[in-house]
């Protein structure tokens, strides 16, 4: 079976129709926004029209599953009878799951902060340099690779061969060049979890860098100029001007990467399959719910994941409140 454009045409046609149809619907929607009741204090009509498409989809695809998952977490493996808190009790008593929770904690502690810090640092380093665009592209490149692809790349870096043979992994080769013994990196707990986190940092630093770089560039010229005239040092410039200016953006980046970190799944699965004590909640949840047929346990882990997001919600709530006050 070869490739023929004729066979592919229906797909492309449906693509065009789908997008055009969607945009037409949105156009009609926007038209009706202004056709509704005018100048009321609470703009129910407008809010409903603007939000309806997104909220309907979210209710269907995310809110309902959350409710379902929460209910399932109080049920047995097949989801056929209620077992109360059993799954949660098991979760916090099985040493194996405790390791999973510890690993997730390691991920959240190190991943977002390091990725953001490196991204910010690099963005500052290359800001307004001649090679800026190229330099940024290099760091951003991992973003274009899927997590699975990135994991394959790093599996290569960590590969091990015995001391007497040629190394094929870069990390061990470096160690050998410096006169050390090659090591089985992925077997050493908890170092292996940190090595997996490196993959996440490698991918996400590009995201942090791109977004923060834009924020740095948006610092008004007069502030920078004023600082230059005052002759502030690099450090005080960073602490007193750059950091406060990009702080809101920094929070957004941190939050976004934190959420991605909590949900990390592909990296662990591709690199270790959750073996060697490297499993994290998202991976364990998938294995329990679908591979082992332990739907209740998998759901309990998912619910725990929802709970972990609460601190982030609180941070966001504060930001929102501050924003409202500023707007007044």
């Amino acid at each position: 079976m070869g490739f023929s454009l004729v066979e592919e045409l229906p797909k492309l046609l449906w693509l065009v129709i789908g997008v055009a149809g969607f945009l037409a619907v949105i156009g009609v929607l926007l038209f009706f926004v202004d056709a509704g009741p005018k100048k009321t204090k609470t703009e129910w009509w407008q809010a409903a029209l603007f939000l309806a498409p997104a909220l309907v989809l979210l209710l269907l695809g995310l809110v309902y599953p959350v409710i379902r998952t929460t209910l399932l977490s109080f049920m047995n493996g097949q989801g056929t009878s209620w077992v109360g808190l059993d799954n949660y009790v098991r979760m916090f008593t099985q040493p194996e799951i405790l390791v999973v929770l510890r690993n997730t904690l390691l991920w959240v502690l190190f991943g977002p902060v390091l990725a953001t810090a490196i991204g910010l640092f690099y963005a500052l380093l290359v800001d307004r340099r001649r090679f800026e665009s190229v330099a940024k592209s290099l760091i951003f490149m991992p973003m274009a690779i899927s997590f699975v692809g990135a994991s394959i790349i790093w599996k290569f870096v960590y590969a091990y061969r015995p001391a007497e043979a040629d190394q094929i992994g870069l990390l061990n080769q470096l160690i050998v060049w410096f006169g050390g013994e090659p090591r089985l990196w992925l077997l050493e707990t908890p170092l292996n979890t940190l090595l997996l986190i490196v993959v996440l940092i490698w991918v996400q630093a590009g995201f942090a860098m791109v977004v923060l770089s834009a924020a740095i560039k948006a610092i008004p010229d007069d502030i920078i100029e004023a600082a230059r005239i005052d002759g502030t040092s690099v450090w005080s410039h960073f602490w007193n001007i750059t950091l406060p200016s990009v702080w809101p953006t920094l929070t957004v980046v941190l939050i976004t990467i934190s959420v991605q970190t909590l949900k990390v799944f592909d990296i662990v699965r591709t690199m270790t399959g959750g073996q060697y004590e490297t499993s994290v909640i998202a991976n364990e949840m998938y294995a329990q719910a679908f591979r082992y047929g332990e739907l209740g346990m998998g759901s309990a882990l998912a619910v725990f994941l929802f709970i972990l997001v609460i601190p982030l919600v609180i941070v966001q709530m504060r930001t929102n409140r501050r924003l409202r006050e500023e707007q007044r």
Binding site: I17, F31, Y160, P162, L184, L187, Y276, G293
Partner: protein, 448 residues
């Protein structure tokens, strides 16, 4: 205020409406390919299924080249009967089939590599039991040993498809001949041979547990083979069904015996380094040092024949070949261990039944075998078709009426253990964990 939000949007809306109504049939594809002439003599074996038509979806874990062979193996069936077969293979089969079934999107037919998984879906009432016609074909084709694995509460749910032989020890006949080694006939000879090879400065064994998210399973094959040979099939069945605890003294003894080889620094890990390196060496790579004379023997299933690089001669006198792992306890003989897929169905439409019937015939087994790198335990399989000598050896042993056959134990245990803690436990064990602690860990994870 304007009548319409935007003339462009209006045009787009009208256009898409016109296209939608007019082009619906075009977009939804359709129009099957013309098959072979159903009256031609080559279609004669398929005559009984010719008036059914329709389309059947099959979901399995088999991918890439193996999947192409599958597709070719039933092409004639498609051409002659007009029943279309939509095959999909996924590396995520074990988890995704659960998602698909729960999501109400079950495939018509699935090939289950683990009887344990089959049992789960039978128990939940999702699987359709084998209709009488299929049952009859199954009884003609396979020994009771095999059918028992697809029988749940007295009902046959599936028929076996392919088989593999998991008691093979791969070795290099030329390497053995050059050094005057001989294929061992007993366990003691095996250990003796291992010592001799080690004394000659070569690591006698190699092993590798890494296998993506299934990492650990190759070590379970070791334990299962030893238990089967040391304690016999009855104890093996008790162990698999959790009638004796996982940390029973007999199981511990089997671990100790495997320990003699797998965790013996003098014996492993040929070509890869120390004992720990077993844990991260992929099982696909693990046997390859045999070709370079860096490793003496490798315990791995018959499917490993496909892993040797192109140009490797697999034969009794060639570059590589395999022998059946020798017996340990003379009273128990040489029971063998293996695996395979089972054809289960989630639908009872006539075309689905037709495909199930066809897949249970000797005709199909021979068609598939003709595509290469495959064998089954079907009694009607013509051994002459099998190209690979080790496949022939494996099929011969499996079909021998005197052979006591047991299915891979980890595939029969609850997935939480058989595909979870057992694998994990073995990885940690290789990595230096104490045997008793490993056994207790697995036992504690087994809920009932």
């Amino acid at each position: 205020m304007p009548k319409f939000p935007n003339p462009r949007t209006t045009i787009a809306a009208t256009l898409s409406l016109v296209l939608l109504t007019g082009g619906c049939a075009y977009l939804s594809g359709g129009g099957g390919s013309a098959g072979a002439d159903p009256d031609s003599p080559e279609c004669e074996p398929y005559a009984q299924w010719q008036d059914i038509g329709g389309s059947v979806s099959i979901y399995a874990s088999i991918r890439d080249e193996e999947a192409e062979r599958l597709r070719r193996s039933w092409q004639k069936f498609i051409d002659c009967t007009g029943i279309d077969i939509q095959y999909e293979g996924s590396g995520e089969f074990e988890a995704q089939v659960q998602v698909k079934v729960d999501g109400g999107n079950a495939p018509d037919i699935a090939f289950f590599p683990q009887p344990g998984l089959l049992e789960r879906f039978a128990a939940s009432g999702d699987l359709v039991a084998a209709p009488e016609s299929v049952q009859q074909l199954a009884e003609e084709g396979w020994s009771q040993d095999w059918l028992d694995y697809a029988t749940i509460d007295g009902t046959l749910y599936a028929t076996p498809l392919g088989a593999n032989f998991k008691s093979f020890v791969w070795y290099s006949p030329t390497f053995f001949a050059d050094n005057g080694y001989e294929v061992p006939q007993t366990w003691d000879e095996l250990i003796e041979l291992s010592d001799t090879i080690a004394d000659d400065g070569v690591k006698p064994w190699c092993a590798g547990l890494e296998s993506g998210d299934a990492t650990g399973w190759p070590a379970t094959d070791w334990i299962e083979n030893v238990i089967l040979r040391e304690n016999g099939p009855e104890v093996y069945d008790q162990w698999v069904n959790h009638e004796i605890p996982f940390n029973d003294a007999k199981i511990a003894a089997a671990f100790d015996r495997a320990d003699e080889i797998l965790r013996n620094p003098d014996y492993v890990n040929g070509g890869f380094g120390n004992v720990q390196s077993i844990a991260i060496t992929s099982f696909q790579e693990a046997g390859l040092p045999i070709l370079d004379g860096e490793c003496g023997m490798y315990l791995m299933g018959s499917f490993y024949a496909a892993q040797w690089p192109e140009g490797t001669e697999v034969s009794e006198t060639g570059d590589v070949y395999a022998f059946n792992l020798p017996p340990i306890n003379p009273e128990q003989g040489t029971p063998v261990m293996g695996g395979g897929e089972f054809v289960g169905a989630f639908s009872d439409r006539p075309e689905v039944v037709a495909v199930r019937e066809y897949l249970a015939t000797a005709e199909y087994a021979n068609n598939r075998a003709a595509e290469g790198a495959w064998f089954s335990a079907h009694q009607g399989l013509d051994l002459e078709i099998l190209e690979v000598p080790t496949d022939r050896l494996g099929a011969e042993i499996l079909r021998d009426p005197d052979t006591v056959f047991r299915f891979d134990g980890s595939d029969l245990m609850p997935a939480e253990v058989g595909a979870g803690t057992f694998w994990r436990g073995m990885v940690n064990w290789i990595n230096g964990e104490d045997t008793d602690a490993t056994l207790d860990y697995i036992e504690n994870s087994w809920s009932s």
